[in-house]
Symmetry: C2
Subunit: 489 residues, 2 copies
């Protein structure tokens, strides 16, 4: 590498050490009648030129990506024509093609109010101390377990669920489970605080009123004192146990219950219209990508996957990876930006932090901490921290979070598909070793490589899972014989 250090300028005979000599030389050379135009210089790609402005190649990459995308779009159109059929989605969404006039998904959705009301009644009983603590908590646990197991059993036993209908039911029940868990736990904290405070109730209330009067004195020259006073009307523990409060929490875009959510003053109509527009358009785009690009790829991947034809299977996997990833990105935006902001705007919910900047994540951990903040916050507040308080180590806490997360991923995929494989579960649990790998890559090769490892795992991991599930779905539904028939064609 010693030769890298010395540039062309230093090695020329004429320009050795002194700058003034070079200047003199230029002057002499300029006087020559042959109009000299050369001087000692390095090429820009040479290390010792010191040049490193390659920003144009960023535009180049995005342009090449667009051109490649446009070409694939045309190729797909020439091969398959237009596969987009909104009517098909209408049938799938309403479940009409499978079940005629029965709507089992709808029945399950409506049934969900039963565990909700039961939960509220138990809390009310606990608050007024009709129900003893242990009994109340046992009822809660049984209620939650029944809640999460019910769709599994019903969907498995009863026919007539459409895939999308069943997916919606499992998602709803998963969210409900997490929300009610949070509701029960927060109310338990409040109850414990009330019990602790019972002895020294007088003292605490005094100090609280002191605090209040202090503040009024502090700001009585301020016009915002009105706001402060209004704000001080915080809802206190047993007053929150109403059906209205519970349903507000269930509708609001968060999984963490608290008694006094921060609220916005008014609904921004322009903002709301934009979000509604995004949801309507975005859902259409996702449907189009699925019908036009993903379904043909997945179908074509069946045989190579079954026959362990690695080259062809890899080609199929990569072919599926791009539209799947774009659909996922679109889904992320629609779900976490448009839809949750829409809900928040309508319900005056002020905390819109639904995602961090996971696209800059330098390792897998950082992605999982940032891409789904409602779940991340729930896991931290209601699983990880309570476990730490109970005396478990941090790594056990993390593992528990990944385990619960893996369970719900599996639950939301396997139950609607009725294929009780563990690909999604394994995929999630596989994040634990993968996170160690990505962290060591980040440490060894820097942040950029860590970021690349994270993107690769996202882009390639998902289509792999999709193919495995589709393969098993076909095998379960139509048997191995079909695969063999296909293979002989």
């Amino acid at each position: 590498m010693s030769e890298h250090g010395e540039g062309i300028r230093r090695r020329t005979k004429s320009v050795t050490r002194a700058e003034d000599i070079q200047a003199e030389e230029q002057k002499i050379r300029k006087k020559q009648p042959d109009k000299p135009c050369h001087k000692p210089r390095d090429s820009l790609f040479s290390w010792n030129s010191g040049f490193n402005d390659f920003t144009g190649f960023i535009n180049w990459a995005f342009l090449l990506l667009s051109i490649g995308g446009l070409r694939l779009f045309l190729e797909n159109f020439l091969k398959y024509g237009i596969r987009i059929d909104p009517l098909q989605w209408f049938y799938i969404l309403t479940g009409q093609d499978d079940s005629g006039d029965e709507h089992p998904s709808l029945v399950l959705i409506l049934y969900s109010c039963v565990p909700i009301v039961l939960c509220l009644l138990t809390e009310k009983g606990l608050a007024v101390e009709i129900v003893p603590n242990m009994t109340g908590m046992t009822i809660h646990i049984i209620n939650l377990l029944v809640l999460i197991l019910l769709p599994m059993v019903v969907i498995h036993v009863k026919d007539g669920f459409s895939l999308v209908g069943a997916s919606f039911v499992t998602t709803l029940y998963s969210v409900l489970f997490l929300k009610l868990w949070s509701y029960v736990q927060v109310n338990m904290w409040c109850r414990m605080a009330r019990q602790n405070a019972k002895g020294n109730l007088r003292r605490q209330s005094l100090s609280y009123s002191n605090l209040k009067s202090n503040k009024v004195n502090l700001h009585d020259d301020d016009s915002s004192t009105e706001d402060l006073k209004e704000h001080k009307k915080l809802i206190q523990y047993p007053d929150n146990l109403t059906l209205k409060d519970l349903y507000y929490f269930l509708c609001v875009p968060t999984l963490c219950y608290e008694l006094n959510f921060p609220k916005t003053e008014r609904i921004r109509k322009r903002f709301l219209i934009k979000r509604i527009f995004e949801v309507l358009i975005g859902v259409q785009i996702i449907f189009c990508v699925i019908q036009q690009y993903m379904i043909p790829s997945v179908k074509n991947s069946l045989i190579p996957f079954s026959n362990m034809d690695y080259t062809l299977a890899t080609e199929r996997l990569l072919k599926l990876a791009i539209p799947n990833h774009l659909a996922w990105l679109c889904m992320f935006y629609i779900m976490f930006h448009s839809w949750l902001n829409l809900l928040g705007e309508i319900l005056h919910f002020a905390d819109r932090s639904f995602y961090g900047d996971w696209w800059n994540a330098n390792n897998i951990d950082s992605f999982w901490r940032n891409w789904n903040l409602p779940v991340h916050r729930w896991a931290l507040r209601h699983l990880y921290l309570p476990m730490i308080e109970m005396g478990y180590s941090k790594s056990v806490g993390s593992l528990a979070v990944f385990f619960i997360s893996a369970f719900f991923h599996e639950y939301m995929v396997s139950v609607p598909l009725k294929t009780y494989k563990i690909w999604a579960f394994m995929g999630m649990m596989g994040q634990v070793p993968l996170s160690y790998i990505s962290k060591s890559v980040e440490r060894a090769y820097g942040r950029r490589f860590g970021n690349l490892v994270f993107w690769s795992s996202i882009i390639l991991g998902q289509p792999l899972c999709i193919m495995m599930y589709y393969h098993d779905y076909i095998v379960v539904r139509y048997g191995e014989s079909l695969l063999e028939d296909y293979a002989h064609v």
Copy 2:
């Protein structure tokens, strides 16, 4: 847009104006037993969040590009197998498949020393004033015209030229034409300077020796004085007219002649080995890309192009664009970095500025000024500036440069292909209006869009020309009937 301005934080009931109120509120909220975790915040994608760090998406773009490339690589392999055949190149390069034992390209290459020697002899005659000025310049002009027309006539009349052999000959003769033009013009400048100085010869030589002694006095405490003295031994006009000096100029990586080129002290062996390695590997890569990716695409594009099937032709064009562009990028690096640096290193030539940072170009002009500095410098020094001195306007000068450039593009493509169409010429002349468009795009939408326009024209313009030439080449060689046969299949 007024609604964009107001963030969630400002619109919440509790946090209106004063920062201390917010702090107070947080303190009160923190005291609640329900462990509040929400606070008023905007989503990152909302304008008023002020967040704009999307650097992770740059890695994302490059990764998606690689994945797409890998998939196309596999798809191509599955469809065509391995098309790479080094032996085929050997035959094409040596022209054995066409001509048996005759090597007309080699004859033309060897013949090139005739105009070179003729040029030197004429210069010698002019220097010692045996040949009158007008006669000498007429001989030069005829010599140069014969030089550039000879390959055209010979390749057209005589069979047995391989495509690559003929391309090599036309490239060599083009370079020779530009170099000899420069040689003649520089010597003319020197001769004119000598004539002007004849009257006041005594005075000038005095002032020159003064300058010299000054400098020695200035630096006589400096060890570099030796270098300076050595450097002062500049070659003066008639002494440079030797065959050795002329052949050194013809081998050196520049098109601009001068009497005293800046030189390096020694050859960096490591640097040299790297460049040799790059040339050997790079040429192989280009050959592979052409055989494996470009030739199938070009062949498949024949029918859609002929039948004016726009969708299919566009798909073919985009399919060809990517490998063609990669081959071009590779060719650029091998040609302008590896090969010219290799030559420079061997010949102790110190000026290695063969290209600017054209990848950051914001308009077409800036690309043409930067991508090929030897030609750009030649055009500036020997065509544009002399024309300006002769009283032409700047735009006429630019047009002349583009015209000469277009001529040589056409010359180096049409002559080997023997299809005297004007696609390359038109492509180059089309740069003039395109440059206006790209400049107005840059002015209207900013530098990034200017850069995108430049990249698009590079990536899409080349394959379009290739397809048109190939189409005409097939039509000329095999006639329209073949196309019709193809179309009916």
